[in-house]
Amino acid sequence: MGISRRIALKALVAGGTTSAAVALGGSTAEGATVAVAAPDAVGLLYDTTLCIGCKACVVACAEANNLKPDTAWSDGKWQAPLDLNAHTKNIIKLYDDGTARSFVKHQCMHCIDPACANACMLGSLKKREFGIVSWDPTLCVGCRYCQMACPFNIPKFEWENAVTPKIVKCELCRHRLAEGKQPACSEVCPRHAVIFGNRTELLEEAHRRLEANPGRYVPHVYGETEAGGTQVLYLSHVPFDKIGLPDYGPTAVPVQQRTLQHGIYEGFAAPLALYGVLAAVLVRNRTHAADGVEEPK
């Protein structure tokens, strides 16, 4: 049953790109394997030591994605979201405890084995070309299970939209990539604090920086293994948990639930067997009753 399920899943993945199929197919059948990034997976590398907090990326992202600037908290004066939300796919936050200070850029991490895509009933959120996790409005019912699932609290919901609320998150400017351009944030960054590229190459660059500058960074590339690995990587000069990047282990978030669910329902064998047993007992009881056999007590 496992092999045919894998084939079925590949057929389900519309577009049939390698990234999505490898990420899903590799882990669902066995359940426990850690997914590996596809060779063409792209991502971002963000370096807190280079970021000056200019927020050009925030402005560029809103413009490139046709998002109205979020001025709710500033009485209309500034584009000043407090957090990612339905109008903000990218945000710069500040960590300052008096001694250590760091800007941090937050957006979707484009996990290699995303919990949100695992959650989505009809596959509206799905890992598509280049491993980008994006949302399809034609398949979403607004159940918000993706929001419950994401370990980084990324997908945001349009709460104020009464009829057609969307799930909003960074999609690495897929529409720009299609035109041969890079994401708006990495294009506009004046110090290349955030750069775009192939994940493998970005990882190499991140490690090169770590080796070349001992003492400048926390000696770890965040996203290399966290939550099964993400396509957005971070280098930081302050501990990662201080800048809102929790200390997650290397197991992808959906693995436990997926293993359990597939363990129980693999091939739908258990439910069919249970139905058979139940029906058999009912038939037996009916036969006994028809034979006039009195049930005990």
Partner: protein, 381 residues
């Protein structure tokens, strides 16, 4: 006239209060460079402008005055220390100008007719002031002709039409409610014709100079927006290139005239500055060639004189929406508190919970005391 401003380079002619007809070649070229720069033409264009002017190839300018205060002409005359006014008049051939002409009456009218005939299709028609259209346009008549007739006539055979100032561009102060004369801007009256509009009250003279000189030298007009405004001057709102923008981004505002913030030169947004919705370049090209001689520079909020929807319409101290908000210079924390808990809901939940528990307990008591139905034999499972 003899202001000593240490920061302003003393490169103009050294004369005193009177007009000085002697202008050095250096000064002449410098003016051409400024004018070329104002309109965004390259440095080589300046040389071309100077050359064309020196050759005497001066374009003819017919300047019409209608419902106006002559402020735009005055503004143009204040483009430098003494002498430059003359210079400007030497760069173009001013063939009709009611304020500056020595002639009057029939003599002036004749000059207008002959200029129109001589330079037909080539002259620049400059319009200053609004055109009243109510009651057949009787509210502005010059030499027995209504403004409507004059402008139709003169603009009809012009090579280029420039509406100088807000009045000519869209009606200006003359069109303020209730607009009893039906004051209208030139583009509306001259429907279908390309009219370069240079709104402002007064208009910035270098905006005019740049357009006029580009046309005079190259026969072309700069890129115009949908309202006919040259984009080099009106492409941005004041808010987008205001020297006090850093104060706005940092949340430093003058709250009242004369308070500490006002004295410190903080942002005037809360005092009703219309900068966020006013397209103009006053913030980068000041008036009277004196640094900071522009409204915000002297501590007065912009009142939106270039915009028809704002100038003379929106009350002076009423704040306006920011059209393209950008981030401030503050940052959200890593974890900002979000979501709220309604005390009414909490109370309601408590009441319901209490009612269920209390009601359940009371109900259970009545059950316990109801008569048995089949005796005390305990049931078997």
């Amino acid at each position: 006239m003899n202001r000593a401003l240490p920061s302003f380079p003393r490169t103009w002619s050294r004369s005193g209060a009177s007009f000085n007809h002697h202008v050095s070649r250096r000064d002449f070229v410098r003016v051409c460079t400024m004018a070329a720069a104002a309109v965004g033409l390259s440095g080589s264009a300046a040389a071309q402008i100077a050359e064309a002017a020196a050759k005497g190839l001066k374009p003819s300018v017919i300047w019409l005055h209608f419902q106006e205060c002559t402020g735009c002409t005055e503004s143009l005359l204040r483009t430098s220390a003494p002498g430059l006014a003359e210079l400007v008049l030497d760069l173009v051939s001013l063939d009709y100008h009611e304020t500056l002409f020595a002639a009057a009456g029939h003599q002036a009218e004749a000059a207008l007719k002959s200029a129109m005939a001589q330079h037909k299709g080539k002259y620049i028609c400059v319009v200053e002031g609004a055109i009243p259209v109510k009651d057949g346009g009787v509210y502005c008549q010059i030499g027995g002709r209504t403004a409507l007739d004059i402008i139709d006539d003169v603009a009809g055979s012009a090579g280029a039409i420039i509406a100088l100032g807000s009045c000519a561009s869209w009606g200006g102060v003359a069109s303020a409610d209730p607009n009893p004369t039906g004051a209208t801007g030139a583009p509306t009256v001259l429907k279908g014709k390309t009219v370069v509009t240079i709104p402002g009250c007064p208009a910035n003279p270098y905006n005019f100079l740049g357009v006029a000189l580009q046309y005079a030298t190259f026969g072309t007009l700069p890129k115009l927006d949908a309202l006919g405004r040259p984009e080099f001057a009106y492409g941005r709102t004041i808010h987008e290139h205001c020297p006090r923008r850093a104060h706005f981004d940092a949340g430093r505002f003058a709250e009242q005239f004369g308070d500490d913030g006002h004295r410190q030169g903080y942002c005037l947004y809360k005092l009703g500055c219309k900068g966020p919705q006013t397209h103009a370049n006053c913030s980068v090209a000041h008036f009277c060639e004196v640094v900071d001689a522009w409204p915000i520079g002297i501590g007065s909020p912009c009142f939106g004189c270039t915009e028809q929807a704002i100038g003379f319409r929106v009350p002076a101290f009423q704040t306006v929406e920011i059209q393209r908000p950008t981030p401030p210079d503050t940052y959200p924390p890593i974890k900002a508190d979000q979501g709220h808990i309604s005390s009414i809901a909490t109370g309601l939940a408590g009441v319901i919970g209490g009612a269920l528990i209390g009601g359940g307990y009371v109900a259970s008591k009545t059950l316990g005391t109801a008569p048995d139905d089949e005796g005390d034999t305990p049931s078997e499972v």
